[in-house]
């Protein structure tokens, strides 16, 4: 049986903000960041926490990482309560909350890791070995970054160092808040591969937030969609895709004379988009049953003297799922 790494039950959190009404007057405003979020994360899986801006992702990550006290609800990390046993929770997790900031500029990468390692209670001899290992794992030594001042780091180096800090204690749980934000493709790929390996080969539980749907689809074993402070859907990427109305897109590129519209109308197609360039038409048709429409469609175009250049049926992407649930919550 898989071990429960994180159990969150009905987490609620309100923030108080001030709406300015002149020089001296301000009105208190309540923002409900979480309205009862529950989920579980198991060892050995990467769970993506996705949602639009302000959905409550970072609030959730901060509560699990003991950096924010929830107003209501409970959460446990490896059976330790995040509020009542915060210190025990802290021993079981590594966090990366921002790739850009979070280190001392006048210390080198290695010195920064030594500083935080000591702060996290690691013994000096094991810390040295661990830092050497992490520098190699994240290729910081190869990049010549280990003994360079943090203030001279590129964003990619900063992200790798952030991940190295999260891994300092070799924790069983990692909380990574947008770890590839702003990174170049090679650095982002390196981090994605490492995250998958850490979960699948080392058995770590990983909570991963991102806005990059392509990344979520290839990194995450399971996805929790959150919107307006509530979990709106949960499952594997494939399961989530099956949750939205099964609209598929026929993407067709044809060459021929200018009467595409009447052909589509003759087939009672209502939802379509046509782009034209140099006598070539790119047609996108949204339909519930593409298989039934396809034969008739091709026949019509051939009979009207069109040459078919390409034809494919597009399945919904995770982005479609994301947009569907985000719009549903509006």
């Amino acid at each position: 049986m898989r071990k429960e790494a994180v159990v969150a039950e009905n987490l609620k959190k309100k923030y108080f903000t001030k709406k300015r009404k002149g020089v001296l007057k301000a009105e208190k405003e309540i923002v409900e960041a979480l309205k009862g979020v529950s989920f579980k994360i198991y060892s050995g899986e990467v769970v993506g926490l996705l949602g639009p801006n302000g959905a409550g992702k970072t609030t959730t990550v901060k509560i699990i990482s003991t950096l924010l006290i929830p107003d209501e609800g409970n959460a446990w990390v490896y059976d330790y309560h995040v509020v009542k046993e915060a210190n025990m929770v802290r021993k079981h997790l590594g966090v990366l909350l921002s790739v850009e900031k979070g280190f001392y500029g006048k210390l080198t990468g290695r010195e920064n890791l030594e500083y935080f390692g000591l702060l996290y209670g690691l013994r000096r001899d094991e810390l040295r070995k661990r830092i050497d290992y992490l520098m190699k794992l994240l290729e910081l030594d190869k990049l010549g970054a280990a003994d360079r001042l943090f203030e001279e780091y590129s964003l990619g180096m900063k992200a790798r160092l952030g991940l190295a800090r999260a891994l300092l204690r070799d924790p069983p749980l990692l909380l990574l808040d947008e770890p590839t934000l702003g990174l170049d493709p090679p650095s982002a790929r390196k981090i994605r591969e490492l995250v998958k390996d850490l979960a699948h080969k080392e058995g770590k539980a990983i909570l991963y937030t991102t806005h990059n749907m392509f990344e979520a689809e290839i990194v995450c074993d399971r996805i929790i969609l959150i919107n307006k402070g509530r979990v709106v859907a949960e499952g594997t990427p494939e399961q989530l895709k099956s949750l939205i109305p099964a609209i598929r897109t026929i993407n067709m590129v044809v060459k021929g004379s200018d009467n595409v519209k009447p052909i589509l109308q003759s087939l009672n197609i209502e939802s379509y988009k046509i782009e034209r360039a140099n006598g070539i038409y790119n047609i996108k048709i949204n339909t519930l049953k593409p298989e039934e429409l396809l034969g008739e469609l091709l026949k019509k175009f051939v009979n009207n003297g069109y040459e078919t250049i390409s034809l494919k049926i597009e399945e919904p992407t995770l982005e479609d799922v994301f947009i569907y649930f985000a719009e549903k919550g509006e």
Partner: protein, 267 residues
């Protein structure tokens, strides 16, 4: 072990932040001389050196170099404590520091310790040479005694600073502007530049509540050769008692701020 780890970590931080920034280190070393020069030139414009010696019992050069040294020593030790939450918030390190599982108090004890090295260094480049210049080799012992007292004064300032920072940050948020208002007041009340006996009654009362101000008085009495051992020991005793008294309040105060921060969330 954990406390030792924290001291080692802070030593790394001080090395990077002060010793690696040569301009910061040089400014700290030069500070007692710059301030003494400024005050003395201002003093000469308004009065005479002799009047100062008659009034205070010490040459203005040594008095103000000592005062400058004391200020930079106390600031060097306590400022990091006072500014640290702001600094960490600005750097984005605060959240990574707060998730340390080690006892919070260890960190606040560890922060000032490596900075004591700076006190010794600045003392060796200011108090020692000027004491030798004025008093010969005997001045070396007096200079060393002043450095020792300055170290004590720096340490004794930590618990009241903890009380103050917890209250300021807890009640007003991490605003450097509030710190900028409170800090000069604290420096005046220490009595380094403005001897305590010259202060108005309210100022004197508040000054008595600051443990380090008693050590500053001991140093001033040493400089004017009016040091009574029994009186000095009683001042050190009062300072120690206040330092110990403020410790639990300081811890509570810091905890209050941190709990508030954890309820609000760190942005």
């Amino acid at each position: 072990m954990s406390l030792w780890n924290m001291v080692l970590a802070e030593t790394k931080f001080v090395y990077g932040d002060v010793f690696r920034r040569k301009s910061v280190l040089l400014t700290m070393i030069a500070y007692p001389y710059i301030l003494a020069l400024f005050v003395i030139l201002l003093g000469y414009a308004m009065g005479s050196r002799q009047v100062f010696i008659e009034k205070t019992g010490a040459p203005p050069e040594i008095f103000f170099v000592t005062a400058g040294f004391l200020l930079i020593s106390i600031l060097g030790v306590s400022d990091d404590l006072l500014w640290r939450p702001n600094f960490e918030l600005w750097l984005g390190t605060l959240q990574y520091v707060l998730i340390s599982p080690l006892p919070r108090i260890y960190r606040y004890i560890a922060i000032p310790i490596p900075r004591l090295l700076i006190v010794v260094l600045v003392g060796a480049t200011s108090i020692i040479p000027i004491s030798i210049y004025y008093y010969g080799l005997g001045g070396l012992i007096e200079g060393a005694a002043i450095i020792l007292m300055a170290l004590l004064s720096g340490i004794f300032f930590t618990t009241p600073i903890m009380v103050i920072m917890g209250i300021i940050y807890g009640a007003g948020g991490e605003s450097w502007r509030i710190i900028n208002i409170v800090r000069p007041l604290l420096l005046i009340l220490l009595g380094a530049y403005y001897p305590r006996y010259l202060m108005p009654l309210m100022g004197r009362i508040v000054s008595y509540l600051i443990p380090s101000s008693h050590i500053v008085e001991v140093i001033q009495l040493m400089m004017i050769d009016k040091l009574n051992v029994l009186y000095a020991l009683s001042l050190i005793g009062i300072a120690t008692a206040l330092f110990v008294l403020y410790a639990p309040i300081g811890i509570k105060s810091i905890n209050y701020w941190e709990t508030k921060k954890l309820k609000e969330g760190i942005r």
